[in-house]
């Protein structure tokens, strides 16, 4: 328990799904108060609050304080697309590492049930009465659907298809089988939005959204929140035996953006920044990619999960297809991936996702995951990516004793 380490002291996610009777503050308060209770601490102990809520009220963190405890601490409202939750957590971790405080709270919340496709909401854009150039492309009319697609299902479909173009073997059926795995895993997760096993036929014959992603291969819009309490190693030494035993070490907390790569402004390059984040994280944690016992990665679409096997170095470069074919990422395989059910079945309440996947990993490292426990898990990795792009990778380790 080195003094400069940072630990997760308490962490919790709400049930993901439809919460028509709860607003974003109810959900955030539920997760935050549960995380505090889980850590055996109160708002009085917190030295910083970092909060993410992309689609709700502005100044979400301060609004939340008014529901759970106003103690005058600094609040950071963060926004980093689908990596918002991971960014909030990392903000609290950085405050501790900077020595500004010894405990902090991170919260991510979203109300998304019934919001339709990711990136496809809003009003129809109309052509003007008279053509007039505007914007960086000098466009005279909206280009979504005329020059490619702005919709996330199509963008991430192309990410997966590009991998297939480079390395081969990435068929519609293969992507559907990835989704089959995650839906099968979800049956053991009572907090997931959807917990139904789906057959390959059901998945492939579901409503097509953007080939090769059918509806069941897309992340599920839902409501949900997740929160985590982080503590310095120095402070943790002074806490009780149960708190120390259940604390989970943050062995690496990395955030990257996409460095310039050829073609990255034509199709977002979600690969390089993920590979960079993973490399930095493995180095910081002093673990090798083969050391992890479970991985929660950002399967916003089935086509995305495939490329991240490679990006997170779960397999050799170019070997994601044989890696999946080997059965490795199933919960009984050598590298269980998304045993929570992943975003495709657990759900993807955007700002909550980057903390919820860390909750999942902590749940296993603490040996508290019940039916879906990965036995003997000691090291886990959580990954999120927000298009634009931002990538968060956290490596977590069970307490030594």
């Amino acid at each position: 328990m080195a003094s400069d380490d940072v630990w997760i002291l308490g962490i919790r996610m709400t049930k993901f799904g439809k919460h028509p009777d709860k607003d974003s503050l109810d959900l955030g308060a539920e997760a935050a108060m549960a995380a505090l209770a889980d850590g055996g601490v109160t708002m009085r102990d917190m030295g910083v609050l970092a909060a993410g809520n992309l689609l709700g009220v502005s100044g979400y963190g301060q609004q939340l304080q008014k529901q759970i405890g106003q103690t005058g601490i600094p609040v950071y409202n963060v926004a980093n697309a689908c990596a918002t939750g991971a960014t909030a957590l990392r903000t609290a971790i950085m405050a501790i590492k900077a020595g500004e405080c010894d405990m902090g709270l991170a919260v991510g919340v979203e109300k998304l049930a019934g919001a339709g496709l990711l990136g496809a909401g809003g009003q129809a854009k109309k052509d003007a009465d008279t053509w007039e150039r505007s914007g960086r492309m000098g466009a005279v009319a909206p280009v979504d659907g005329r020059i490619g697609t702005d919709g996330m299902p199509g963008v991430f479909a192309q990410v997966g298809m590009e991998y297939g173009h480079k390395y081969g073997g990435a068929t519609f059926e293969l992507f559907a089988r990835i989704s089959e795995k995650n839906h099968a895993h979800s049956t053991l997760n009572p907090l997931a939005t959807y917990t139904k096993r789906m057959s390959l036929d059901q998945i492939m014959n579901d409503v097509m959204i953007a080939y090769p992603n059918t509806r069941s291969m897309c992340s599920a819009n839902c409501d949900g929140a997740a929160a985590a309490v982080v503590v310095s190693g120095e402070k943790l030494k002074t806490l009780g035996p149960d708190q120390r035993r259940r604390a989970v070490k943050v062995s690496a907390s990395v955030l990257t953006s996409d460095p310039w790569q050829d073609g990255c402004q034509v199709l977002p390059d979600v690969n390089t920044l993920t590979r960079n984040a993973a490399t930095q994280a493995y180095e910081a944690a002093g673990v090798s990619p083969s050391d992890r016992d479970l991985v929660e990665l950002h399967d916003c679409f089935a086509t995305a999960e495939l490329v991240h096997y490679d990006n997170l170095q779960l397999c050799a470069p170019g070997e994601a297809v044989p890696f999946f074919e080997s059965g490795a990422p199933w919960r009984d395989g050598s590298t269980p991936v998304n045993v929570s059910g992943g975003l495709e079945s657990k759900g993807h309440p955007i700002s909550a996702t980057g903390i919820a996947n860390i909750w999942e990993v902590c749940h296993h490292l603490r040996g508290e995951a019940g039916d879906r426990q990965i036995e003997g898990a000691t090291v886990g990795l959580a990954h999120v990516i927000g298009l634009g792009s931002a990538c968060g990778v956290h490596i977590l380790e069970r307490a030594a004793a």
């Binding site: 496709l117 990136g119 496809a120 909401g121 809003g122 009003q123 129809a124 854009k125 109309k126 052509d127 003007a128 009465d129 008279t130 053509w131 150039r133 914007g135 960086r136 492309m137 000098g138 466009a139 005279v140 009319a141 909206p142 280009v143 979504d144 659907g145 005329r146 020059i147 490619g148 697609t149 702005d150 919709g151 299902p153 199509g154 963008v155 479909a157 192309q158 990410v159 298809m161 590009e162 297939g164 173009h165 519609f172 409503v207 097509m208 959204i209 953007a210 080939y211 090769p212 992603n213 310039w260 050829d262 073609g263 402004q265 034509v266 199709l267």
Partner: protein, 132 residues
């Protein structure tokens, strides 16, 4: 003949009506961009020259969009076309939008189509890539 305008400023039509895509190429590192630039995202240089992008390429990636934002007609094929080293975001046109007719690695060429005509009678000309 009615007035014409291209859908985006990086699509040009020459005297013989041949369409071309024109990129901004960084004078320092050669990175190519579509659209107005402040500086090069790769090397931070600020000297750019206009270069004509080859009009033939191969499909590096695609998706067949079946559900899109309100007002966007579906289905359509969105793709990344590799034009001899310059990647272009485009729709694939003049092809059936199904995985039997659209395949990775297929050869395509630049083509244009009428987007629409505005109140003053000006035609907007868009581009896509079609199978060769």
């Amino acid at each position: 003949m009615s007035e014409r305008i291209t859908l985006v400023d990086y699509l040009t039509l020459d005297d013989a009506d041949e369409p071309h895509l024109v990129a901004n190429e960084c004078g320092t590192c050669g990175a190519r961009y579509f659209g107005r630039r402040n500086a090069c995202a790769s090397c931070f240089g600020t000297d750019f020259a206009k270069v004509t992008v080859p009009s033939e390429g191969v499909v590096r990636s695609f998706t067949i969009v079946a559900q899109a934002a309100p007002g966007v007609p579906v289905p359509f094929v969105a793709a990344v076309v590799d034009c001899d080293g310059t990647r272009v975001r485009s729709n694939l046109i003049n092809v059936d939008p199904d995985p039997e007719h659209v395949v990775l690695g297929m050869k395509v060429r630049l083509a244009t189509y009428l987007v629409g005509t505005d109140a003053s009678g000006t035609d907007a000309i868009g581009f896509g890539f079609e199978p060769m």
